[in-house]
Structure formats: C-alpha cells, structure tokens
C-alpha cells in the first residue's frame, strides 16, 4: 500500500461522496457527473487492489492482518458497481444519494485499510 496514493484516493472518495450527496439532495437523477465520480472511485480501487498484490514483492509488507485487509478491499471493490446498478434501475434523486453514501463508506473502508497496512500497533 502506497501512502500518498491511498491519501489521494481517500480525498477523491470523500469529494465524490459529497458531490453525489449534494447533487442528490438538489434533486438530480444519476447523471454523467455523479456516475463518473463513482466510476473514478472504482477505477482507483482496482488500482489499489493491483498495488496491494504487487507491493509485497517490492518489500512493502502489511503490518496488520492480511485477510482483514483484503476483506475490506474486496468488499469496497464490489460496492460502486452495486450502487451504480441501483442508480440505473431506479433513476431517482435517491439513487444519487446512494452513490454518495457508497463513496463515503469507501473512504472509511480505505482509512481502515490504511490503518491495517501501515500502523498496526499490536
């Protein structure tokens, strides 16, 4: 796990989440902007997955529980497609809110992943 990349990723997930929440509460149906923001979060998650697989080869090892780390990461990777699927099925403002909630939840999950990988004290 690369620290600056993870930090940037969390910032983007929070920004995308807030953007979708604002658009949703403003009454916008899922559009290119909100779906694009969720898609960007998903692309970065896949990049994070690749990084996590490759990093140990270069001596960047997780300090915490690997299984717990991947439980978070794989759950996170699944979330945006589910939220986007819902947004396509039910095209209301609340689907945009759901996209926002999903992005914010991913930000929290990324933070937990960062703790597990970098700063495990036990």
């Amino acid at each position: 796990m690369i620290e600056w990349f993870t930090t940037a990723q969390i910032a983007i997930a929070v920004a995308a989440g807030l953007l979708c929440l604002v658009l949703g509460f403003a009454g916008r149906k899922p559009n290119d902007l909100s779906m694009g923001a969720a898609a960007l979060v998903e692309v970065l998650l896949v990049a994070q997955l690749v990084t996590a697989i490759v990093a140990p080869i270069f001596g960047n090892l997780p300090t915490g529980n690997v299984a717990e780390f991947y439980a978070y990461l794989i759950s996170a990777v699944i979330v945006p497609p589910l939220a986007a699927f819902w947004a396509l099925v039910e095209r209301t403002r609340w689907s945009t809110v759901i996209l926002g909630v999903a992005c914010l939840a991913i930000a929290v999950m990324l933070y937990r992943m960062h703790i597990i990988w970098n700063v495990q004290l036990t």
């Binding site: 299984a67 439980a71 978070y72 209301t92 609340w94 909630v101």
Partner: protein, 151 residues
Amino acid sequence: MANSARVTGIGRVLIVVYGFLALAATGRSAVQILTKFDEAPLAYSLSALAAVVYIVATVALVAPGRSAASHTAWYRVAWGTITFELLGVIVIGVLSLADPELFPHDTVWSVFGRGYVFVPLILPVLGMVWLAKHRPRSTSPAAASAAQRTA
C-alpha cells in the same frame, strides 16, 4: 405516484446504510472472533450479536412481504430489531463510559458507536421515524405495490 416513488427512494437509502453497517459489523466481529476471541469474549460476542441483529434489521426492511400478513410480520421484526439496536447502543454506550474496564475492547456500540461515526446511534432513530410513517395498511405504498404484484 411521484410521491410514493420518492418515499421508496428514502427508504432505500436507509436500507443501503443499514446494509453497510451490517457488512462492517459482521466483517469486523468475524475477524475479532477468529483471531483474538480469548482477549475479550464478552465484547466480541456482543459485536457478533449486534452484527446478526443488523443483518436481520436490513432483511426486515428489504423484505416487502407479498401478502398483508407477511408485511405486518416483517414490520414487527423491523421494529423489534431496531428497538434492540437503540437500547444496545444506549446501554453499552453508558456502560462503556461509566466503567471502561467492562469493555476494554471496542464493540460496535462502545461510546455510542464512536468507532462508526455515531451511525449506530443515529440510524435506529431514523429507522423508527421511517417505520412510524410507513405502517402496513392497504393504502400504504408498499402494500399497494404488493397488491399490484399479486393481482
């Protein structure tokens, strides 16, 4: 019609947030029990119990019930589980502050759900508001759509 669609929408946001909490609590308690159950059997058992209740609550909110009877039954399950969650977060929240020795390891409900940005404290209240506004009646949107499906 537009109005009922909007209400369905809010309900779905609630379900999604419940789903996330159920997922987070289940995943975390599973890891805790598998890796370090001996350290705090009480706290981790409680986490697992809370996780199961969140799953049941999520299911109760999702399961619409095709008949009026099953709709009423799930409605009661939803009330029961959400009430349990609210009591849990308040009782454990108070206990964890009053006597930290009792819960040396975090549970979902420690310090009113601080580890989960207080979502465990806020969510049951929102859930109760939503349930109170959506009593199962033949005129309610859910019952009406259930009737449409069976017709």
